[in-house]
């Protein structure tokens, strides 16, 4: 299999070398921007590719190319990058299978004049100009409170069902939830308790039932973890509290489709792979055409996503997670 793949790659390499030669004469070719993902055949990355195509259509001067190894290995990605260097593409956005292993080859690509950024799963500083991360704790935490407030009409007691008490990311988000709820517009709301379901369906379910028993007037549960939001939705249905207790959180559309469509979960959020592909392509185009240099503090215009700011070490935050509701969930559930 591997041998076959290498042969195929070599063939495409030879083929594109000729093609490349012809292109140089023409001069006015669209920019070739590659989205290199961890592996092919993964719904999440197919959606990333859709975002790239969307951005390319919007920009007009870009050809979006979607590539990835058949299995999620750093070696597979290195082979592909070598080929891309030979093909002289203009930019590569990579969701890396290894934070460090790709650095030598991406450095080689950058030396050959190709712009390299990473997204979703980053490459360490030095091996790319920009690392695009989906969101940050502050945006995630604040948005969770906004989502539940919209569902509960800015009223009543809400509780958080988290994963484990030691989960760093969860705890950071919860800190920001406490921060957000201090805002006067939430004056009729109270964040009563944080409980931990340990990302186990049975414990999360029990904790959700416990919350509803302990707080008879509970109006909402925030569960920023996929298992938790799923188990809590089921608990709300089983306890006949649908409509009385609202639920939001971070969940995968394919897993939550049932509860979002039947109204148990009015809305929930997660970073959206389409947006990741879209933003990556937009950023690369801006770097290639030298609209920005990608230094710390630079603002990059990203179409419908607004402006993103390049942070320390090139780490760039895309924005608030994408909100899924009854109207759009089916579309995204088919992707990831």
């Amino acid at each position: 299999m591997k041998k076959l793949l290498t042969v195929l790659l070599a063939l495409t390499l030879v083929g594109t070398m000729f093609a490349g030669g012809q292109q140089e004469d023409k001069g006015d070719q669209p920019l070739k921007i590659v989205l290199l993902v961890k592996s092919l055949g993964n719904g999440f990355f197919e959606a990333v590719a859709d975002g790239g195509v969307e951005a390319a259509a919007e920009l007009g001067n870009v050809e979006s190319i979607y590539m990835g190894p058949s299995s999620a290995t750093a070696e597979g990605q290195i082979d592909i990058i070598e080929t891309l260097i030979a093909q002289r593409v203009d930019g590569i956005a990579i969701s890396a299978n290894d934070r460090d292993a790709l650095i030598p080859v991406t450095k080689k690509a950058m030396a050959a004049g190709i712009q390299v950024i990473s997204f979703d799963s980053g490459i360490a500083a030095g091996g790319r100009t920009i690392d695009l991360i989906p969101s940050v704790s502050e945006l995630i935490g604040r948005q969770q409170v906004q989502l539940i407030a919209e569902l509960t009409d800015y009223k009543g007691q809400v509780a958080v069902l988290s994963a484990t008490s030691q989960a760093t990311n969860q705890n950071a988000w919860i800190e920001w939830m406490y921060e957000e709820i201090k805002d006067p517009k939430y004056k009729d709301m109270e964040l009563v308790e944080v409980v931990y379901g340990d990302d186990a369906a049975d414990k999360s379910y029990r904790e959700a039932v416990g919350l509803m028993q302990k707080y008879p007037n509970l109006s909402g549960i925030i569960s920023p973890t996929t298992v938790g939001v799923l188990a809590a939705s089921k608990a709300i249905e089983d306890e006949n509290m649908k409509g009385k207790v609202q639920i939001t959180g971070l969940g995968l559309p394919s897993e939550m489709q049932h509860y979002v469509e039947n109204g148990t979960c009015g809305q929930m959020a997660l970073w959206n792979p389409v947006d990741l592909g879209y933003t990556s392509t937009m950023i690369l185009e801006a770097l290639i055409t030298e609209k920005v240099a990608g230094n710390e503090g630079d603002m990059i215009k990203v179409g419908r996503m607004g402006d993103v700011k390049v942070g320390t070490d090139g780490v760039t935050v895309m924005g608030t997670p994408f909100v899924f509701n009854k109207e759009n969930i089916a579309t995204y559930a088919a992707m990831f």
């Binding site: 944080v194 799923l230 089921k234 897993e255 489709q257 509860y259």
Partner: protein, 327 residues
């Protein structure tokens, strides 16, 4: 009748008292805990543990242990859910049957390893624990089966309401009754006790250790099969981590219920009460308003104390018996 009384006199009575004390204590902190509806909820929540703990009971009775129960639950639950996902028209009863057969086969593999491979149960099941969990990931390709992909009838399987009790509680009751009968009144059931009590003596009277090992691991596996189907349908989610760590819960239920961890002694009614004791703790912790950081600690202390009180009472009884004899 007498023998039942005698049995109850042993550990079960102490444990039942402890269960009542625990429930009352929780009720003081969280009023309404000992209400009809909530008792039903706790029993329903503990039914899966009861079924799997009974399987574990037979294995421990022979001096072995089955560490693979959590993984068998995960695999059979995932298989059943995926069958339901891809053949939504298949009657749920068939899906349940397939789930049981899958569990039975995995359990029988454990039995083969122990009986014919001469691998000690703790090692054999430690290995299959990882293997079966790995199978689950391979089977599902890491994906979950969730409510949207399950049929209504599959998700309703553990629900139902007959005489105020759910299908899940009924299946736990039925299995308990069947297994109590099996352990007390059948030849194979008594042979399990015999092997656990004295292996050499049992062999001399013609009890086949191989046969007993095949039986106990197959029973444990089949019960995990039922549990897996019930687990995934109840939570409307078949995830790869289903029931991770559950094996220790089942061992705790057995030991709490007075089953000798070295084998030979114990009875199913005790195991059921032991499981209910753990079920009460599981359901009480979320409502008693203790910091989550203390919950694990509290859980451990309660279980240990219960076990301690339990054995103390046993010792006292033994001493009383000895004293009477010396008179």
């Amino acid at each position: 009748m007498n023998s039942i009384k005698e049995l109850l006199k042993k550990r079960e009575i102490t444990l039942i008292l402890l269960v009542i004390v625990l429930a009352v204590a929780v009720n003081m902190r969280a009023p309404g805990f000992v209400g009809g509806e909530n008792i039903n909820r706790i029993v329903n929540d503990t039914s899966i543990l009861i079924m799997v703990a009974i399987g574990q009971f037979f294995v421990i009775l022979t001096g072995g242990i089955d560490l693979s129960v959590g993984s068998i639950i995960a695999f059979s639950g995932m298989s059943a859910s995926m069958i339901n996902q891809y053949n939504p028209s298949m009657p749920v009863f068939y899906v349940l049957t397939i789930g049981i057969i899958v569990g039975l086969v995995l359990g029988a593999i454990n039995g083969l390893l122990v009986a014919y491979g001469k691998v000690p149960p703790i090692i054999a099941t430690l290995g299959t624990m990882s293997i079966y969990r790995g199978f689950t990931f391979v089977l599902s390709k890491g994906q979950w089966v969730t409510a949207h992909e399950m049929t209504e009838s599959y998700m309703n399987l553990p629900k139902g309401n007959f005489l105020g009790m759910s299908n899940l509680i009924w299946s736990a009751l039925l299995i308990s009754a069947l297994m109590i009968y099996f352990s007390r009144y059948t030849r194979s059931g008594r042979e399990i006790y015999a092997i656990g009590g004295n292996k050499t003596a049992a062999r001399f009277v013609g009890v086949s250790e191989k046969k007993v090992n095949m039986i106990i691991f197959s029973i444990s596996g089949a019960l995990c099969g039922i549990a897996g189907v019930m687990w995934t349908s109840r939570y409307a989610a078949a995830v790869n981590e289903t029931a991770a760590g559950f094996e220790l819960m089942t061992v705790a239920a057995c030991v709490l219920g007075g089953v000798n961890i070295a084998g030979g002694a114990g009875a199913i009614p005790g195991v059921i009460v032991g499981a209910l004791f753990l079920g009460i703790i599981n359901n009480a912790l979320p409502v008693v308003n203790f910091s989550p950081f203390y919950q694990m600690l509290i859980q451990g202390v309660i279980v240990l104390s219960a076990m301690f009180i339990n054995t103390m009472m046993d010792k006292r009884k033994e001493r009383q018996l000895l004293n009477r004899r010396s008179l």
